[in-house]
């Protein structure tokens, strides 16, 4: 796939940061508002896919290697499982939410009833959201990138 016109490229460059911020917000606030790792990851990946469409797959492939994407994807999944296994180590059972009630990170237990949402809550759930988000971003983007790159020849010839 070749790149598109200069107008499209400029608009893409302007809109891209906003999409990134929105997607990362959905991932980070997954435990407070609707959404989570998968949904936010899909938003970020679609922002990356927009870059791919505007600038063309050959340009994008020059910037990002598919192998690095697959390694990042593995790391996302491994983080998720290791968090679950840490529940076995620090807590009592697999998937135990061992950070809740501790004062380390995301450790506050909010008071019952209607409160102002506090991001520093919910224990391992935000961390798992980050892991899933990473996996979905690179996974979806990797699929789109490879499909675009594999179909590029028809455009050139």
């Amino acid at each position: 796939m070749n790149g598109m016109s200069r107008i499209v490229k400029t608009i893409t460059s302007i809109v891209f940061p906003f999409i990134m911020i929105f997607g990362l917000y959905i991932i980070a606030h997954g435990h407070l508002t609707p959404g989570g790792g998968f949904q936010g990851g899909a938003v970020v990946a679609s922002g990356c896919a927009m870059i791919l469409v505007a600038y063309g797959s050959v340009w994008t492939m020059g910037k990002i290697k598919e192998k690095n994407l697959s390694i990042l994807e593995s790391i996302g999944a491994i983080c998720f499982i290791i968090l679950a296994i840490l529940g076995l180590g620090f807590g009592t059972v697999f998937f135990k939410n061992f950070l809740v009630g501790s004062n380390i990170i995301f450790g506050i237990v909010p008071s019952f009833g209607s409160t102002i949402s506090n991001i520093n809550t919910a224990g391992v759930i935000p961390l798992m959201n980050f892991a899933v988000g990473l996996k979905v971003i690179v996974g979806l983007f990797g699929i789109v990138l490879i499909m675009a790159y594999a179909s590029r020849r028809r455009d050139n010839k």
Partner: protein, 523 residues
């Protein structure tokens, strides 16, 4: 608390978690070296197998294990994700782990020359996680999730040889059937959830009423899982998928098929166990009839095949018919206490013993077919001949597989088929006659194959064919030795492994009481 107790307590979670962790570590490990990656995968599966055996030893001693994810204690109503391992689950997990380990050892040389092997091993380990999840879970929705994981991983593995267009076609057929089956299962789960507000198998089993909607759910579940197991009217995907996938994948697919079979039995005996008195024997008879049709059509189609792996695939279909016949006979007599004690429990032992025998026999034959393909690059039976001169060990393994699959003593197939013949003859003589006829036809099929592949004059084009590498022979040797041991000491296997599994299926109230201690139904 020492380490073994710790492992045992957490084993149901670890059996799924370790292959899953291994699957995602494989792409990273394979950056180092191919050999390191192969050793890594084998070690991951060895650890899993040893945990499975540890768990199975404890479960066969009479303890049902439950494992609650994310919480120490169970609170009612059950909303937690729950794994529940009784002897039947442990029995299936043993089969799965044997097949996976053998497949990975076999893969070392068999697909060495292919590219994309890090993805292959990742998918194998994902398939392992899905299979073990299906076998160990105690939750219907969880079962559906693991069913989907298994389907997607199997589909990608069937299409592993993408340069051959037919493999892609087979994978497409498989994913269509699997998605359809998964949707059926999901719909059935929704029907049950809508009525009883529960997804846990034990909770559902304790409150199920056998209402009109429950009957629809039962039909959907049995139809969908039988579709995934390759029962005859829905078997068309199986010969393609088994025939086109690499042999090392086919042997794992046999295990994945058995996991779906396990689903049928779990649904019929545990989920609907409490209502079995309300339903006349119809569901049992339906399963018996499906089994009989499956046997007959499987062997008759196998007789006319000319492709080596496709032929074995059709005989695998027939073998699943035997399992359905045995366990269906048990289900037919389940409500009738006296008759069940006389015939039903024998039939159930035969059927469940045949699950492990079928996976070993068919698995060995697929590995032999893969070895012949590896050595000659030929799958058509018409073009082969005289290979016994070049590949003597492979020939011996084929003979062992041939005798075992057609139920000839002293191989393991004889023991389980004899139990099935004896008990079904007392239910209805025609069933036993059809079963014996199918078994004889299986012998005819494989004698034909033996003659056309291994016997006959030496062919000049196969002059340079050599015996396959040692790792492949070792993998086949593992299965062949298990077959012979099971054949020589069937009573040991039946008393120690099969009987606990049969009792676990029959005593569904034990399974339910593990979650709901106040449950009083059942026998």
């Amino acid at each position: 608390m020492n380490f073994v107790d710790f492992l045992l307590q957490h084993s149901p979670a670890l059996i799924v978690a370790i292959p899953l962790l291994g699957a995602f570590l494989t792409p990273l490990v394979s950056r180092i070296n191919n050999k390191v990656r192969n050793i890594f995968v084998i070690i991951i599966l060895l650890i899993t197998t040893s945990i499975v055996l540890l768990l199975a030893l404890d479960v066969f001693a009479g303890n049902i294990h439950t494992y609650i994810f994310g919480a120490k204690d169970l609170t009612l109503p059950v909303v937690r994700i729950l794994f529940e391992v009784d002897a039947m689950s442990a029995f299936m997990a043993i089969i799965g782990s044997i097949l996976l380990l053998v497949s990975v050892i076999y893969s070392w040389s068999f697909i060495e020359e292919n590219s994309g092997l890090d993805k292959y091993y990742t998918l194998v380990l994902l398939l392992a996680a899905g299979m073990f999840g299906m076998m160990l879970t105690g939750d219907m929705f969880n079962f559906f999730v693991f069913l989907e994981i298994t389907s997607i991983a199997s589909c990608a593995l069937i299409a592993f040889w993408t340069n051959k267009g037919k493999a892609v076609e087979a994978a497409f057929k498989y994913i269509v059937i699997s998605s359809l089956a998964a949707l059926f299962v999901l719909f059935a789960i929704a029907l049950l959830y809508g009525q009883y507000n529960a997804l846990n198998i034990a909770v559902l089993g304790s409150v199920i009423q056998f209402s009109y909607l429950d009957k629809i759910a039962l039909v959907l579940l049995v139809a969908a899982l039988a579709m995934k197991a390759g029962i005859v009217p829905m078997h068309m995907w199986l010969p393609d998928a088994y025939g086109r996938a690499p042999a090392s994948v086919t042997i794992i697919l046999v295990g994945a098929t058995q996991a779906s079979l396990y689903g049928v039995f779990r649904v019929c005996f545990t989920l609907y166990g409490n209502t079995i008195n309300l339903s006349p024997t119809s569901i049992g008879w339906i399963i018996v009839l499906l089994g009989v049709i499956t046997m007959l059509i499987g062997v008759s189609m196998a007789l006319i095949q000319s492709d080596f792996k496709r032929l074995i695939a059709f005989s695998a279909v027939a073998e699943i018919g035997f399992i359905f016949l045995g366990i269906g006979t048990g289900l037919t007599l389940f409500a009738n206490n006296q008759m069940f004690g006389l015939i039903g429990s024998t039939a159930m032992s035969g059927g469940i013993f045949h699950i492990i025998n079928d996976s070993l026999d068919v698995g060995l034959l697929f590995l032999v077919a893969g070895a012949v393909y590896y050595a000659t690059k030929e799958t058509s039976l018409d073009k082969m001949g005289g290979l016994a001169r070049n590949m003597k060990y492979t020939t011996i393994f084929f003979i062992i597989g041939l005798l075992a699959i057609s139920g000839i003593p002293p191989m393991n197939g004889f023991a389980s088929k004899l139990l099935i013949y004896e008990s079904t003859f007392q239910l209805n003589p025609i069933l036993a006659i059809v079963a014996i006829l199918s078994s004889i036809m299986l012998l005819a099929v494989f004698v034909k194959v033996f003659h056309s592949v291994f016997l006959g004059p030496a062919q000049p084009k196969f002059k340079d064919v050599k015996e396959v590498p040692k790792t492949m022979l070792f993998a086949m040797g593992i299965i062949a030795s298990i077959i012979i041991i099971f054949g020589l000491f069937p009573d040991l296997v039946i008393n120690n492994i099969v009987e606990p599994a049969v009792n676990a299926l029959i005593n569904y109230s034990e399974y339910i009481r593990q979650v709901i201690p106040t449950f009083t139904g059942g026998f």
